[in-house]
Assembly symmetry: C2
Homo-oligomer: 131 residues x 2
């Protein structure tokens, strides 16, 4: 079966999922080129909205993601990269960017403030990796 | 530690993750109210962009998601709902919306066409659940 992926403003949400541990590692966006490069190289590529450029995860830190499989959802508008993560996925040194658990939610008219607890373990010192 | 969640166009990406199997179940968006309702009720709420309304997952199908934990990422702009899924998460009858694996990627100037293979198993007949 073939389908056309749906890109919104040129991007598709991409979830990095650790194929071994089963944990969600990070959430980012992929451009058409990023999807193509991921498939071609077996290394996770995204599009950095802040830097406005194609981004190979780990290109500077060495913490690359080997993509075992790309999955697409029922609407063809979101992807999961099943990866083997080298080092940690998060630039803060944690295995996963989702290393904080929400304890309370306080909604005001303009904000949603949450209190959080650390749950993960730091795998590396970001100051040593990102100079 | 407290942080303000970042909503873009009033929404924050929310990934439903099966706390038991470790699989990614679905990708959707949450409004401030959806986050608050999820925390208050312990049932996953999202915001349906197509219907433009708050949406409790499973309200019509019965396939609710019991949220064991909400996780927030390092930038406070994406959430993971750690859930216990009743029935299947996908409206097509599959456990996960990500039930297709990408086999080939064909990028043209305007589209990215992917060929896919089914990997999941249908848990229910959508015609019986969604009348």
């Amino acid at each position: 079966m073939t389908v056309d992926l749906t890109f919104e403003d040129g991007l598709i949400p991409a979830i990095a999922h650790d194929a071994e541990s089963g944990r969600v590692l990070m959430f980012a966006y992929a451009s058409p080129e990023a999807v193509e490069r991921t498939q071609e190289t077996g290394l996770a590529h995204y599009y950095s909205r802040s830097r406005e450029e194609l981004w190979q995860k780990g290109a500077s830190s060495g913490h690359v993601q080997h993509v075992e499989e790309i999955r697409v959802d029922c609407d063809s508008d979101a992807l999961v990269y099943e990866v083997e993560q080298e080092g940690g996925a998060c630039h803060t040194g944690y295995e996963s960017c989702f290393h904080r658990t929400v304890e309370t939610v306080e909604r005001t008219e303009s904000t949603v403030e949450v209190s959080t607890a650390e749950t993960g373990e730091q795998l590396f010192d970001p100051e040593e990796v990102y100079e």
